[in-house]
């Protein structure tokens, strides 16, 4: 057993000793500054005129006192040792945490430095412009890309009109507009064939009924059930014009 282990055993023994508490304490000396004390509590001891008895310590008692002071010293040392070890543990943890933070910072700084040193030829503008160009060139809107629509507008093959499908289809300002029957529009579809529709030549009976009506769409429409839902409806006869686009090509 090493000296240190022996010391620690002594300390543990000392710590394990039970402290005996005197349950019948000696009454405190009379206190003149407490006049309201209960009678008999701080009662003065009777003066007998005898000298207090003195007692010399025996060698055993002296040795015991020495042991006691020695034990207290060891206990103090042990407490200090434990505090030191605790402090060391805390310092080690702090050093470790600082190390992790430093390492992380180094990695971050290294990565950002490397990223920052990568060349960016043409600056941000170059990929931005390239992306915008291809965006306008490749993404179709209403059947054509934005560049194609621009080309069609510049060449007079498409018009920019106000309104659009606004939902107010009863007036003349809104609605889908465009001269879909004009040659300039049809010229975009060179393979399209325009089929003149004659009465009786349409594929649906309803359309044939309209064609046969010679412009009076009221009766055929009523007969086909649509206007039959609106018996009070007033229908103004129109002269229909028909266009067959690529969808109607046979």
């Amino acid at each position: 057993m090493s000296k240190r282990q022996g010391s620690m055993a002594t300390i543990d023994d000392a710590l394990n000793q039970t402290i005996v508490v005197n349950e019948n304490p000696i009454a405190p000396p009379p206190d003149a500054s407490a006049p309201h004390a209960a009678p008999g509590v701080n009662a003065p001891t009777p003066v007998t005129g005898e000298k207090p008895e003195t007692r010399t310590l025996t060698a055993e008692e002296i040795a015991e006192e020495k042991d006691k002071s020695e034990r207290e010293k060891l206990i103090d040392e042990a407490i200090k040792e434990r505090e030191r070890q605790e402090q060391e543990r805390k310092d080690a943890f702090k050093a470790s945490a600082n190390n992790v933070v430093d390492k992380t910072g180094q990695v971050w700084r290294g990565a950002t430095a490397r990223l920052g040193s990568i060349p960016t030829p043409g600056s941000i503008i170059l990929p931005l412009v390239a992306l915008a160009v291809f965006f306008f060139m490749l993404i179709p809107v209403n059947g054509h890309t934005r560049f194609v629509w621009l080309w069609l507008v510049l060449t007079g093959n498409a018009d920019i009109t106000g309104g659009g499908a606004s939902g107010d289809f009863g007036n003349t300002n809104g609605g889908a507009s465009g001269d879909f029957g004009t040659p300039s529009y049809l010229s975009q579809f060179p393979q399209a064939t325009t089929i003149p529709i004659v009465p009786g030549g349409a594929s649906s009976s309803a359309l044939n009924a309209v064609l046969n009506s010679q412009g009076n769409v009221e009766q055929p429409a009523r007969n086909n059930g649509f206007l039959a839902q609106f018996p009070q409806a007033q229908v103004t006869p129109i002269n229909p014009t028909f266009f067959t686009g690529p969808e109607d090509t046979v």
Binding site: L115, I118, T120, L131, L138, I139, L186, P190
Partner: protein
């Protein structure tokens, strides 16, 4: 907020973040190569339209290809 507002807000956030990143050296490289990546992605996903443009059939010239 309607869908248009959300769309606009999302794009605004993207643009602001991109501008903030461009302010730093490393962020600039990140945005730069991110844009090139987006371009490549656009070309790959619209390869058909790109082929149409680059071939004779894709050219519209007053109805005569």
């Amino acid at each position: 907020m309607n869908e248009a507002g959300q769309w606009l807000g999302a794009w605004l956030v993207v643009i602001v973040v991109a501008i903030m990143l461009v302010q730093s050296g490393w962020g600039k490289a990140l945005v730069y190569y991110g844009l090139w990546l987006a371009l490549v992605f656009l070309l790959v996903t619209h390869a058909t339209e790109l082929t149409d443009i680059l071939t004779k059939g894709g050219i519209i010239k007053n109805g005569n290809s």
